[in-house]
């Protein structure tokens, strides 16, 4: 019932706020290129969400600027920068689309993808280091992985390391809400989990001794250490996770276009270049061959 007055006011404000969008759609020359490009990649005219996107000429990317070095804001310009941001721009280059960023909270990324499935509204793709998990795959479709990270424990300098599942029991661990780290610790059981809006919100608490550890991606953790947080990595990761773009379900053409863009930036070396730029000279775009189990393997083991 909230909808009735809401819709009326939304109409009033929507006209004011969204007025700016109209002008951009006039860029037909670029829109044409994107549509033609898409047709040549797919071998047929794009349909569904892909058609809406190539016709209007821009792709809306969901991305959370709270995760350096994947995505954060530049001090001088206030613009987004980071690995995920570079990857999104490469997608734009590969498909001839303009890239627009939206910065929803992490837990509304998937609802937003689903909400825009038919109309192309909200955001069309998450390029935000989302781990491919079977549960999420029920709600969204994933592209091929574009890079890999590991779930690491971050502890205070000099505190006991937490590297085994036994050591996790009874510990108070901070995680970002709805991250694989939370799912993993849930599956372990007996862990006192504190979930925060983002992994970063847990850092000050860890620093003050309110947590025994924070579980996050290895390079996110490493970045916090260089900035002067008195933390250290626990050494041994629990699992590695493939990270991919996510889109609304049942959009085969959009999925094919995005997979094409990932292959394009892999083949021409631009993906590796971006990885080396943001990740200390490492090429994180290749699957780790270090004997660390994958997220799926660990979860299957825990659940059996």
């Amino acid at each position: 019932m909230l909808l009735v007055p809401t819709v009326l006011l939304a109409l009033a404000f929507g006209l004011v706020a969204c007025g700016g969008d109209e002008g951009d759609e006039g860029g037909t020359a670029e829109g044409q290129t994107a549509a033609e490009k898409a047709a040549s990649i797919l071998g047929h005219e794009p349909a569904g969400l892909a058609k809406i996107i190539v016709d209007r000429g821009y792709l809306v990317v969901a991305n959370d600027p709270n995760y350096a070095p994947q995505s954060s804001i530049n001090k001088e310009t206030g613009e987004l920068e980071g690995f995920d941001v570079d990857v999104a721009k490469l997608v734009g280059e590969a498909l001839g689309l303009e890239i627009r960023f939206e910065n929803p909270k992490w837990d509304s990324v998937i609802p937003g993808l689903q909400a825009g499935a038919e109309t192309g509204s909200k955001w069309n793709v998450s390029i935000g280091s989302m781990t491919v998990t079977p549960d999420r795959a029920k709600a969204v479709d994933f592209t091929d992985p574009y890079y890999y990270a590991q779930g690491q424990m971050l502890v205070r300098q000099g505190s006991p390391k937490i590297t085994t599942i036994e050591e996790l029991k009874g510990k108070t661990i901070g995680v970002g809400a709805q991250t694989t780290y939370q799912y993993f610790l849930d599956a372990v059981g007996g862990v006192n989990i504190r979930s925060y809006d983002t992994d970063l919100d847990a850092f000050p608490v860890l620093e003050n001794g309110g947590l025994d550890g924070v579980m996050t991606a290895d390079l996110t953790a490493s970045e916090a250490i260089s900035s002067g947080k008195p933390f250290e990595l626990s050494g041994k990761p629990f699992y590695y996770e493939p990270l991919a773009f996510a889109i609304a379900k049942d959009q085969p053409d959009l999925l094919a276009l995005l997979n094409y863009s990932i292959k394009w930036m892999r083949d021409n070396g631009k993906l590796t270049e971006a990885s080396k730029k943001w990740y200390h000279g490492f090429d994180v775009t290749a699957e780790p061959a270090s004997g660390v189990p994958s997220y799926d393997e660990v979860m299957a083991q825990l659940q059996s």
Binding site: T6, L9, A17, L200, E232, L233
Partner: protein, 388 residues
Amino acid sequence: MKKLVLTILALVLVLGAMAPAASAAGKLPEVTQGSPYDGMAYEWGVTAVQVYYMPGSSPVDPLKCELYVNGERVTPLGDPVDSQLAQGASLQFNLPEDFQPPKGELEFRAVLVTKAGDEVSYDWTYTYGGQKRKPLIDFALMRDWFTFIAQGALVTIELTVLSILFATLLALLGALGRLSKSTSAREAWTKYRSWTYMVGWVGRMVPYGIATFYTSLFRGTPLLLQIIFIYLAIPGFNNYAYGAWGFKIPEPGPFASAAVALSLNYGAYLTEVWRAGIQAVPKGQTEAAWALGMTGMQTWRRITLPQAFKIVIPAIGNDFIALIKDTSLASTIALPELLQKARLVGGRTYDFLSPLLVAAAVYWALTIFFSFWQARLERRLERDTARG
């Protein structure tokens, strides 16, 4: 012939001697970067030095690894920590509390020693600004990011002004609705005993019902819920409508969603304010206007509304100031207003205290500014009364 045999023999010997040496060396670790490095997003915190490397065939022995700053060996706090990353590895030297490097360009050298006994050294430089650990309140950070955060104030003000305008108008309509019921059904029937009158009475109950429902709903649910609901529910509705009926309604972005929710929520509260304001105008005023021959509309426009307006101004001013602060709830839908911007800076610099203090100062300044004008406006209205 003899010479040839000797040469071959010598070659075999030499190669034989070299072969074990070559295999012992194996693949050496390769350092890809040392941290701190120039161009980092923030100043070095002087708590740790990290060396990123690709492991060789023999693992690194952290206990034997060494760190030099400006040629002097640094004794790390505890053992260096070797961590396996998704690609490569990092070796972290924790620095002792009392470690204080000089300001200016620092020369770092890390020596990685493998379990097989091979050494790899890596040199790099970093220009150190002289800031020892992060201060509790980082004024340099506040200065650097002030403009970025303060730009959020524009969005906050825009949102506040638009919302209070719409809320006031909505509330006026709501108040008229709330006031359209004069008597209960039983009273009306016992008083008039007329079915025609009762039909009119039911007609007047419709706006009353709508207004009562509206204020009850929007005062009875959290503002935060309303903001998130509007932001996420309309796209969901559209998605369904587009699939089922082939149309969609305009979708509010973060700004429009927040403005709609704030207008509706504050409109509900201000409805009661307007109702009280209108009722506070003495009945004699209306009766006098009628006695002078004014029509209902004239009475309303010239007598009741201006007097009610004067009564409700302080309350609207109060809500305006509360609204300034409630716009911060829009940060949950990622509207780049003051609080959201401060949090972004926190995410970037790993320091939440300093940017939040900047945001708090800006909010406070805004409320002081608007309170001042509210007081001026109220004094102004007082003066009119004294004159009248």
